[in-house]
């Protein structure tokens, strides 16, 4: 699972690419924590635009990221979530805990 970082100042965006299942989640968590430790952001945004499939393993990844951010006194958000992953997040009530931000581009219309 590829994790691409971007952003400036204390705001970090991590873009996930590929299928986020249990197999990929271990590596995703490692990469994510490495990026957080390197950037020490006050705000983290997880961009799911490149996630072609996600199961409940994605929830554990988001919860881990949120825990790390809160421990540093920061916040986390999610954006650009494709419909399939959105359904998984919604079933788990994740958007009540981590806000879903309006993305600048939506690829939802493309995939439906």
């Amino acid at each position: 699972m590829e994790v691409i970082s971007s952003g400036e100042g204390r705001e970090l965006t991590l873009t996930l690419r590929g299928e986020l299942d249990h197999h990929a989640a271990k590596e995703a968590m490692r990469n994510l924590e490495w990026e957080l430790d390197a950037a020490l952001p006050s705000k983290l945004t997880l961009d799911f635009s490149g996630v072609s499939f996600m199961d409940s393993s994605g929830i554990a990844v988001v919860m881990r990221a949120l825990k790390r951010m809160r421990a540093m006194g920061g916040s986390a958000a999610i954006k650009n979530v494709p419909p399939q992953a959105k359904k998984v997040f919604t079933a788990a009530g994740i958007f009540r805990i981590v806000p879903l931000e309006e993305g600048e581009k939506s690829n939802e219309s493309k995939t439906e």
Partner: protein, 148 residues
């Protein structure tokens, strides 16, 4: 008086996490003959992924064991998916099905059964301590009249 499926696939693989993708891709390819929507296909893949991951993580925590995946099509566009393992079994199925309950630690969310339940029409879990677990899920694929 078991009803025979109109079509089925049966595959077997060791409980290695690399096989999770294969399992859901195989079922998705098989289900394609029911002409599901992208949405329905996404639900089915997600449910299969959850069931297979459960077997990999929980049924065989210390060893690599066998997982059998079966998908059947019955009359009325009904898809039935069975994931079977011969692992340690679930001590308390009721508890395991509760949202957020997990014995998987920080790597798991405890939402697996909840997602299988909400993404499929029905979910049945049979488990015996030390013998294994069978998860059976059903989903009726809507017949679409307006096809191209």
């Amino acid at each position: 008086m078991k009803v025979k499926p109109n079509n089925y696939i049966a595959i077997e693989f060791p409980s290695r996490s690399v096989n999770e993708g294969l399992a859901r891709a195989a079922v998705a390819a098989f289900a394609a003959q029911l002409d599901p929507t992208l949405d329905e296909l996404g639900d089915i893949k997600t449910a299969v992924s959850e069931a297979v991951t459960n077997a990999i993580v929980h049924a065989y925590p210390q060893e690599i064991g066998k997982i059998a995946l079966r998908a059947c099509i019955f009359d009325g566009n009904l898809l039935e998916i069975t994931v079977r393992d011969w692992g340690c079994g679930i001590a308390d199925v009721e508890k395991a099905r509760e949202p957020l309950y997990t014995t998987g630690g920080e790597e798991r969310s405890g939402m697996g059964f909840t997602i299988m339940e909400s993404f499929m029409d029905s979910l049945a879990v049979r488990s015996k301590n030390g013998k294994g677990t069978v998860v059976t899920m059903k989903r009726r694929i809507a017949l679409r009249t307006a096809r191209r």
